[in-house]
Symmetry: C3
Subunit: 407 residues, 3 copies
C-alpha cells in the first residue's frame, strides 16, 4: 500500500518548520508559535598608548570578552513576541533586551527592558556596527536600555515612527532610590530611497529625562557624562563631567547613504543639561557628532530595514571546500565629543570640579573580515586628541582586535 | 516508484516529536529523551504610598524586572528528568529550580535545589499565582527553595504525599558557615473531588529547621522574619523581627475549592520559633493566614493537578485575526501576618530590640488579563494596616502592575 | 495520487537532523549549521573532619551546587564552531568555555576563553573525571581557562599536538591591571595503542606564564599556590603559599592505560616559580603528582579520543522497564602536592611568611554509579596528611557525595 499525496501533505503540515538563523528558528506550521535560542561572543584585544606623560595612565595591553550573551526569542500565540538576552562578559550578569511585544496591531507595543528610540548608531545591533565601539556620544549621553513601554510603527518601507516612556533608574543599583525618573524618547526616520543597494536614510530623535530620586532626603541620582579614549572599551576616560545633571534633553539628527558596496553614515547630537541647583547655576549643552564611510571590497552591501542597518549577507563565505574569501570591508570615522561647555561655571559652583570637562576628537580606521554571515574579525586603529581639561593635549592611540560570532 | 506506508511509518517514527508549550518540547519517538528551553519575564511597576508621616519611608514609584529567567528541562534516558532555571532580575544571578529527579519508581526522588513541601501558595508556580506576590507568611517564614533530597508521590488523582530533608544554608553566603542546618519538610494533600471545573483541595504540611552554624565560635546564622508592606515587592518592610531563631517549626493547613470559573483559596499557618538562648528566653509563635476568592468573567477554570493549581487554558485568546478577548479574572484576598508574639520578652533579653514586631493586615484586589495561555497583564490594588511596633497605625497603600510572559 | 520516492527523499533531505546527545543536537542536512543546548548540574554533599586540634578549622558538613551550567554549542556555516557555557553555582556567574573555532584547516584555530593545553586530568571534562575533584596540583598550579588563541591538531588517531598563547589575567578582577601577562602553553600526546578497550596514552606539556601588571606603580598580580584538604571542594586549604610568583614554568608528564574495564592514570608535574625580587631571593620548584586506578565492575571501558578520556557508554542503563543496573566503577588515587620548597628562604625575605608551605599527601577511594550515559552518582572517601608548615601532622578526612546530570 502506498502513501497518498494527501497523507504526505498532512504530515508535512503537522511538522514544525526549522529555519537556520545561526541557531535554528523553530516555528509551528500554524504560525502560533516560534522559538529561537540566540547569543553572541566578542573576544577582544586592546593595545592602547594612553599618553602617560600627560594623563598619568599607563599603556593598556589586555584581552576581554567584550560581549558574552545567551538569550532566547520567540512568539507565543501569533501576536505576542518576546526577547530576552543576558550578558555574562567579565563574569558579571547584565540583562540586555528583555521584553514582550504585542505585534497584532499596526503599531507594535513593547514592554520591558529595551533601547529608547535614539541614535542610529545605538540602535544598530552590536553585531552589525561598523567599528568595535559606537560613537563617543552614545556612551556619554547614556542612550542605553531602560525599562519602559514603547510604541513603534515600522510597516512602511519608507518611514518609521516610535515613541516611548521609560524609567530612569540609577546605574547599577535601583533599590536605594524610591522614585524612578522619567525618560521620554521618540524617533522618526525617513528613507526616500530604499532599494537593495541604494538607500537614503534621514532621521531625527529626541529624549528628555529626569534623574531618579529619593524624596526622603532630596537626594537625586544625578547624571554624569563621559567617554573612553580612542573609542576603545579598555581605555580610560580622559574627558568626563562630575555628577551634575538633574535632567537633560537630547536631540539628534541622522543621515546615511548606501550606494552599492559604499556607505556613508553620520549623526549630530546635542544634550542640554540642567545642572542641579545645589551644584552650580549652569546649563551646559554637550555636543557629539561623527561622520563615517565604509566600503565592501568584495561587493557586499549594507542591508537597511526598519530604520536601521542589519546583517550583511556575505557573497562568498570562507570554508574549506570552496575557498571563498568572505567579505572584506574598510571603514573610517571622524568622531567628536565636546563636554567642555560651561566647565568654569560648573566648577565655580564650588561643589564639584569640572576639571576633565574637555573635548575629544577621534580618528578611526577599521578593517572587517566577515568569514560568513555570523562570524567577523575586526581590526581598528584609532587616535583621540584631548582638548581642554586636565588631559589637554593628550593623544590616545590604540589598536583593537575582535573575533565575533553570533547565533 | 512510490513510497510504501511501511517506509513512511518508519520515517515518522524516526523523527523527533515537537509539542509546543510556549517554547517547543522536543521528544525522541522512543521516549528516551526530552528537552525544552524555558523561561519567563515579569515587568513590574509599583506605586506605593508608604505613610511617610508614620514610617518615615517615602512613596515608591518604580519599575523592575521582577523575574527574568532562562532555563531548561528534559529527560535523559526514560526515567531521569532534570530542571534548571536561573533568574537574572536586577542583574543578579539567582539559581531557582536546579534538580535531577528519578521518576522510574512510584515515588519520585528529587535531588538538588527545589521547594520544600510547604504551603499551597508557595508551591503554585509564580506564573500561575493569582496575585502579584504570594501571601505575606510565605516570605516571612522563608518557605523558599533549599538544596536537598525529596520523595514525592503524586500518581493518585485524589491525594499526594511528599517529604524531604534539606540543608538550611545562610541567605546569600554559605561559605562562612561550616555546618549547614537541617530542614525537614512534609506535605499531604487530599482532593476528595477532582474533576474538570470542580475541585475540593485540602492539605497540611510541616517543616522543622535548624540554623546553619560555625562550630569554631558557636556562631549561628539565626533566622529572622519579615514581610513587605501591601504585599508588593518594592515596598519596604514595616513589620520585622531581628535575627533571633536558632530553630523553628512550621505547620500549615490549606483549603481550596473550584466551582467552574469561581475559586476559593485559603491557608492558615503557625511558625513556632526557638529563640537562641544568648538572645532572649522566649519562644514566640508567629501566625500567618489568608483567604482569597477569584472569578473568571470569561468562563475559564483554574486547573488542578498533583496538589497545586496550574496553567489556565484561555478560551478565546487575543489575536488580530479573531478578535478574542482573552481571559479576564477578578480576585480579592485578605492576608494577615502576625509577628507580634512575645515582642517584649525578646526585647527584654537586652541583645536585640523587637521594635518592629507587629502585625500586618492586607486587603488585595486584583484584575488579571490573560491574553493567551502564556501572557498575562496584572493589576493589584492593595492596602496594609500595621498594628503594633514602631510603625503602629501606618496604612500602606499601593498599586502594582505586571506584564508577564513565559515560554 | 501517490508520493514518489524522489519526492520523499527530497523532503527528507530538506528536514533538519536531530541527534540526541542528552539534549538534541539539531543539524541542517547540508552540513552548514548545527546547534545544541548544553549544561550540567552537580549536587554535592561534603562531610569533612578537618583535624581542628591542629588546624583550628572545624568540621564541615555542607551541601552545594558544585556546578550549575547552561550553555550552547554549534556551527555557523561549515567550519566555524562555537561553544559558550556559563556556571551559576553559588549564585555566582562564571564564564567557562567561551570560544569560536575555525575547523576548516588540518589545524584547528580557537579564540576565546578555554583551557590551556596542560594536564590530562584538567583537560578531561568535569563530567568524565573519575573522582569528584581533580588532582591537587591542577588547582595549585591554576591550570584553568584563560582568554587566548590556540592551535590544535587532533586528526590522527595516534597523536595530538597543540599550542597556544593566552593572557594571564588576575583572578576575579582584570580591570585594575593595565597589562595582562602572557601565558604560553603546549602539549603533545601519543597513543601508540588506541583501540576500543585497549589504550596506551603518553603525554607531555609545558606552560610558561608571567603575571599581569600595572606599570603605573610597578604592581603585579603575583601568583600564589594552594590546594584544598582531602581533595574536596568544601574543605579549607591547609597548604598554601603567599602571593609570591612573578612568573613560573610548568611542565608535566602524563601516562594512562586502558585494558578493557580496567584503567590506570598518572601524572607528574613540576612548577618552577620565580619569586618577585621585592619579596625574596628564591625560586622554589613545586611538585605535584598522582597515580590512580579504576575498574568498571559492569564491563564498561573508558573511551579515549583526541588525547583525553570521554563519556562512558553504559551497557545496561537503569530504567524501570528493564531493571538494568547501570555501570558501577570503583577507583583509587594517591595524590601528592609539595609546596614546601625554599619555604625558609621565602620567609627570610621578610615580606611574606611561608608558614603554610607544606606538603599534602592524599588517598582517595571512589565508587561511581552511572545510571545512564548522562547521570552519575559519586561517592568519595578521602584522607590527606599534611607534612610541614603550621598544619604539620594534620589528618583531613572526608566523604563526598555527588548527584550529576548533564545534557
Amino acid at each position: 500500500q502506498y502513501v497518498t499525496k494527501q497523507e504526505f501533505d498532512a504530515y508535512k503540515k503537522s511538522q514544525p518548520e526549522v529555519t537556520w538563523k545561526g541557531a535554528p528558528r523553530i516555528s509551528s506550521e500554524d504560525g502560533k508559535f516560534q522559538f529561537k535560542v540566540r547569543g553572541r561572543l566578542n573576544v577582544d584585544y586592546d593595545g592602547i598608548d594612553q599618553d602617560e606623560s600627560i594623563t598619568g595612565d599607563p599603556d593598556v595591553s589586555s584581552v576581554e570578552l567584550r560581549r558574552a550573551r545567551i538569550g532566547v526569542e520567540g512568539v507565543v500565540f501569533y501576536d505576542v513576541a518576546y526577547k530576552f538576552e543576558v550578558d555574562f562578559a567579565g563574569d558579571n550578569t547584565s540583562v540586555k533586551d528583555a521584553y514582550l511585544r504585542y505585534t497584532g496591531l499596526p503599531v507594535d507595543i513593547t514592554i520591558g527592558n529595551f533601547k529608547p528610540y535614539n541614535s542610529l548608531d545605538e540602535l544598530i545591533s552590536g553585531n552589525y556596527i561598523t567599528f568595535m565601539e559606537r560613537a563617543a556620544f552614545v556612551e556619554a549621553f547614556r542612550l542605553d536600555r531602560l525599562i519602559g513601554l514603547g510604541l513603534s510603527y515600522d510597516e512602511n518601507k519608507h518611514w518609521t515612527l516610535s515613541a516611548g516612556v521609560f524609567a530612569t533608574t540609577p546605574e547599577g543599583d535601583q533599590t536605594e532610590f524610591y522614585e524612578d525618573g522619567t525618560t521620554f524618547s521618540s524617533r522618526l526616520t525617513v528613507a526616500p530611497i530604499n532599494e537593495k543597494g541604494k538607500v537614503v536614510h534621514l532621521g531625527a530623535s529626541v529624549r528628555q529625562r529626569d534623574a531618579a530620586g529619593d524624596p526622603r532626603n532630596d537626594a537625586e541620582n544625578l547624571f554624569r557624562y563621559r567617554a573612553r579614549g580612542a573609542d576603545l572599551h579598555l581605555a580610560d576616560r580622559f574627558i568626563a563631567t562630575p555628577y551634575i545633571g538633574e535632567s537633560d534633553t537630547f536631540w539628534g539628527l541622522e543621515g546615511a547613504v548606501v550606494l552599492g558596496s559604499f556607505s556613508l553614515q553620520g549623526e549630530y547630537s546635542q544634550n542640554r543639561v540642567e545642572v542641579a541647583p545645589g551644584i552650580a547655576n549652569a546649563d551646559p549643552t554637550y555636543t557629539g557628532w561623527y561622520v563615517g564611510a565604509n566600503w565592501f571590497l568584495t561587493g557586499e552591501s549594507r542591508p537597511y530595514k526598519n530604520g536601521v542597518f542589519g546583517r550583511v549577507k556575505v557573497k562568498d563565505p570562507v570554508f574549506d571546500g570552496s575557498g571563498g574569501w568572505g567579505a572584506w570591508q574598510i571603514a573610517g570615522r571622524y568622531d567628536v565629543l565636546d563636554l567642555s561647555d560651561q566647565a568654569d561655571k560648573i566648577t565655580a559652583g564650588g561643589v564639584v570640579t569640572c576639571s576633565a570637562c574637555g573635548e575629544q576628537v577621534t580618528w578611526l580606521l577599521g578593517v572587517n573580515w566577515h568569514l560568513n554571515d555570523y562570524t567577523r574579525l575586526m581590526l581598528n586603529v584609532n587616535q583621540s586628541e584631548i582638548d581642554g581639561g586636565v588631559n589637554d593635549g593628550a593623544e590616545i592611540t590604540g589598536v583593537g582586535m575582535r573575533a565575533q560570532v553570533d547565533w
